[in-house]
Symmetry: C2
Subunit: 310 residues, 2 copies
């Protein structure tokens, strides 16, 4: 029986699946190991985009239209920062800012990021076990034709318009898993790799060696869901990043990136033709509807994924 | 001729007079030495209430009704902090927050408070020379019947309801004047002590020994304006503080607190009967209208004060 489930997660795509999961299983049994590679310090504030997207989504306060930030938020803080002549390419909502200020304050007091996320989750009434993959820093650096830059700079500030040559993860060599991360993989009855960017969302998680080792060693089934549908991404720059790294932009490519630990790969019906090649990697392919628009779509995909873990 | 004027200033009352002054003299010739005794760290942010009130007022962005904060501000940040279960007795507007985040960030980078205030002023288009009395900390501690507390806690959190037994200034012994403070007193053609709380606004400024010495030594005229009118304060808890310290709540009491350096004392027409006793202190008394409601009131009092410096 599948009781305890551990997920590897990025931002928006993962949050949708997780929202489906908490509708069909108890939050208490769900552990989410979340990417911190997008974390960035802006105006002295520690910002953790992926943990926040997941928190806000599961607490039903996310701005559904944007997929990030808090619903009904205002942007008076950034408008005033602009008056002070500061860069405001990273949009920080006024409510959202409370999260960043509180987190920064707690970190300054010596609370590790994992402890901060736990406090925020509890305050928002969440029972899910949301863990940053590490309490240290992992910084994906995107080497482009116009220079090396932080992923958020590449994505938000420059609108993903540069040509990608390589992606590296600064700090990953030294990063230790946050408390509970390895145990959650070892104790899980099933593991889900969410439909997130394989390069800059799942990539930093897998770059922590002990995490990748634990995934290869577990006897529990590992199921991943393709973030690539019909040769393009649902959201974000995964396609540009994959192409830049010399990979085909396809569900097959994603499956092959995970082949050392993956048992089952869920891809969209539209990509059914790739099932044969995926099977040749020793991975069981399952085709289904993977586009999540309504809550019912999310619940359906979550249910199908849990079935695949059996 | 009065060209360069230096003012000692607290918050709201001082800001009104200063607004009058910049309407009748060039901002470039005006130096304001401002109290930092109200400075407080909240949620990891460095908050400087008095410098901000003056900045916002002179930049014409202050919330006129409240006398502090920025006009048209929202309070979504604090509402979210509340959701996180944090104390939100200190009201931080969302625009206002940009000032605190920017200041905290600059201080973290090693910029002294005086440098931070200068940057903020320039960004807001101000030419006035606004100087914190010190770049170090001076913390007025209010000893009350319910215990010792920070002034902001006494004033905002507990609504000034406790009985005051004593006021002390932690850090004042060691505090050095910020760069430019002493020179601005030495070079001034006239010095104005704004109508601010003599205990917790002007008090911390005078608690810096070199400042009080420079005031007693200057040959320029020193003029103070009474914040006490008809036996009560225009705004704030000066009356409670003065009473707690065993002082009469009167213009005369304020004049006597400044008697070692004061040449002239401007008090309200309503208190004209005190002129005689003030003159006995060796201080020239001037009675006029000191209540500042309209801009014209502010300009009138500023003009009268400049005349008194001649």
């Amino acid at each position: 029986m599948i009781e305890n489930v551990t997920c590897l997660a990025g931002g928006v795509g993962a949050a949708k699946l997780l929202q489906g999961l908490i509708n069909v299983m108890p939050q208490e049994n769900l552990t989410v190991i979340v990417n911190v590679g997008d974390d960035i310090e802006l105006h002295g504030l520690h910002i953790s985009p992926d943990p926040d997207i997941i928190m806000y989504t599961l607490a039903s306060i996310v701005d559904e239209e944007k997929g990030w930030g808090i619903q009904g938020d205002t942007f008076n803080f950034v408008s005033m920062l602009k008056q002070y002549g500061l860069e405001t390419w990273f949009k920080l909502g006024d409510k959202d800012l409370a999260t960043h200020v509180y987190r920064t304050c707690l970190i300054k007091e010596g609370v590790p990021l994992s402890g901060v996320i736990q406090r925020l989750c509890r305050a928002l009434g969440l029972k899910v076990n949301l863990l940053p993959v590490t309490n240290q820093k992992i910084v994906p650096q995107i080497l482009t034709n116009t220079g090396k830059m932080h992923f958020e700079e590449y994505l938000v500030k420059r609108g993903a318009r540069d040509r990608v040559l390589d992606v590296t993860f600064e700090g990953a060599e030294l990063a230790r898993p946050a408390p509970g991360v390895i145990k959650s993989i070892q104790d899980a009855d099933g593991i889900i790799v969410c439909p997130s960017n394989p390069i800059v969302s799942i990539g930093p998680i897998l770059a922590v060696k002990e995490v990748r080792s634990a995934l290869t060693e577990t006897s529990a089934k590992v199921v991943a869901i393709s973030p690539i549908v019909g040769g393009s991404t649902i959201k974000g720059p995964a396609d540009k990043l994959m192409r830049g790294l010399g990979l085909d932009v396809s569900a097959f490519s994603v499956a092959s990136l995970y082949r050392d630990f993956l048992d089952t790969f869920i891809l969209d019906n539209i990509d059914e033709k790739m099932k044969e090649n995926i099977a040749k990697l020793g991975i069981e392919p399952i085709a289904t509807d993977t586009i999540m628009k309504s809550l019912q779509d999310k619940v359906n995909l979550a249910t199908r994924t849990l079935q695949a873990l059996l």
